[in-house]
Amino acid sequence: MRKSLITALVFVLTAVLLVGLFFFAVNQGSIQVTFAELLRGLFVDYDPNVAAIYDLRFPRILIAMLGGAALAVAGALFQAVLRNPVADPSIIGISSGAALASVLVVGLFPLLYFSSPLFAIGGGLITFAIVYSLSYQGGLAPMRVILVGIAVNAVMVGLGEGIGVLMSGGASMGGGVSFTGSLAMLTWNDVRLLAYYVTPALLAAALLSGRCNLLGLEDDTVRSLGVNVTLLRVMVSFVAVTLVSLASAVMGVIAFLGLIVPHLARLLVGSDNRVLLPYCALGGAFLMLLADTAGRLIAHPFEINAGILMAIVGGPLFIMLLRSRSNFYG
């Protein structure tokens, strides 16, 4: 019972931090308002400062939170379904596969903008199928998944950058292809796009969380409990790929978030997915918003992409995890 109290505390504390960070992030930049002005401007009267903040800062903040939640939950799902504590959707190429598909579609058929998430999901699914089938040899050895994933990722990034060059008419800096995620320039349209698709996918993850726990057992054992384990894997993978693809389509590729958050979350709240997944959503929202806000502040007036910051912090952690002998699934 003491454990559930600690878990509840961790949740509350993280939520408080997230809310605090939200108001901090809202107020960082050339326009600043007080908390009272903000509330007044949002809900009571028109205030030009608040309106500017609403149009410019709210979208990126909301996207950071939604996208970060999606990435972290997806990371936890991938780690469960691949039984691999170091599986990160960006390392194994899912993010870049999805980003590639969405860039291609928007570049070639701009009218399909609002259905581009569907194409991103398609790209993510194809990439995942490639990685899964190439690394399956009577089982999924964790290292083989990572190595195959790195190779597939390299191909996807290469294709994306190549196509970017062609689309931007030969300029060497790839046009619309954002392989290092950035949240600058995002609008309310992007928020809606992400919210429409991510919310149901997060709900699906919550519904699956109890069943997800079964993936911590051997497949034979799960089967003898009367559960079709192959179907379960397909469903969990589908939700995970969907979440990553949506986030990558809107934000570009954010590396390591799907690794760091679930890892810390397991230390804080344990590995029961019914608790872990909701906490990952909260923690992912916090970390992504933190990365984006820090990127805005560190070298002001220049901006450092959130994706770059995550890579700098996440890389060493990934190496640490690779070197530690710990295995989350005994």
Binding site: G216, T221, S224, G226, V227, S271, Y329, G330
Partner: protein
């Protein structure tokens, strides 16, 4: 005499590279402990998987469980009739014993249904039967191999099936825990009336524990009988292709290998 639990007729099975069984037939008696014996590669694991519906027999084979074709059972239905304790197991390190045993209730629930007091009672009972009352809130990683094995058996027990299959449940354990696990299995059979089908790597343990032996010859044919009727050097040579000696001490069969 009760009708047999399993009736196997004309069972054939082959892996792509090699045939394993060609038309074998046997019954598995209700309420007894039956061991599957055989040398490495004789197909005892294959047989174990065929009977638990983890492999599909070739056309023309017939396996019936309680008078019904095994292939007609849905997975979830089978899990209410037959629990399996596999040799290789894994669990999240921080899961508690009770939470793990609770998975035994999965076959009795719909996907999103929560635990009823009936489920909780079944879990408590299974823990108690396996002598795990004091371990219920401990984490799996804190337990020794022998204690963990009892947890996996308790999980099978929580399924409340009339039948339990166990694949080499003593293999990685020292002798203290081997004996404890074997005693537990006997208790399952004698006190709860479970029909047990078991693979044991130790010949003496098979003779000691089981009421019935099904022994596979290297060619895929089989011999069936009580331990007393099969405790014979000729039989052992046929099964294991090794000269072993059989002694009897106080009517207890002891098999040993002179070097």
């Amino acid at each position: 005499m009760d009708k047999p639990v399993f009736k196997v007729q004309n069972l054939s099975f082959a892996y792509p590279s090699e045939p394993v069984f060609d038309g074998i037939s046997f019954d598995i008696a209700r309420g007894k402990i039956t061991a599957l014996m055989g040398a490495n590669g004789s197909g005892k694991s294959t047989l174990f998987k065929l009977l638990t519906k983890n492999l599909k027999p070739q056309a023309g084979s017939q396996i019936t469980l309680d008078g019904r074709d095994l292939s007609s059972y849905r997975l979830s239905e089978l899990a209410k009739n037959l629990a399996v304790v596999w040799q290789n197991n894994r669990a999240p390190q921080d899961i508690t014993v009770r939470d793990l045993v609770a998975y035994g209730r999965v076959p009795h629930k719909k996907a999103f249904q929560s635990m009823t007091s009936e489920d909780e009672a079944a879990i408590t009972e299974a823990l108690h039967f396996c002598d795990l009352d004091d371990f219920a809130q401990r984490r799996m990683q804190e337990l020794s191999g022998g204690q963990q094995q009892r947890v996996w058996i308790a999980m099978g027990l929580a399924q409340q099936t009339p039948l339990m299959f166990l694949d080499e449940p003593t293999t990685f354990l020292d002798i203290h825990y081997q004996v404890r696990v074997l005693r537990l299995i006997r208790k399952l059979n004698r006190e709860l009336g479970l029909t047990v089908v078991i693979i044991l790597h130790d010949i003496n343990q098979s003779f000691e524990l089981c009421d019935e032996l099904i022994a596979l010859r290297p060619d895929g044919s089989l011999l069936q009988g009580s331990p007393q009727s099969l405790a014979d050097e000729g039989f052992l040579r046929e099964i294991y292709n090794t000269d072993l000696r059989v002694s009897r001490v106080d009517s207890q069969v002891i098999v040993h290998a002179p070097l």
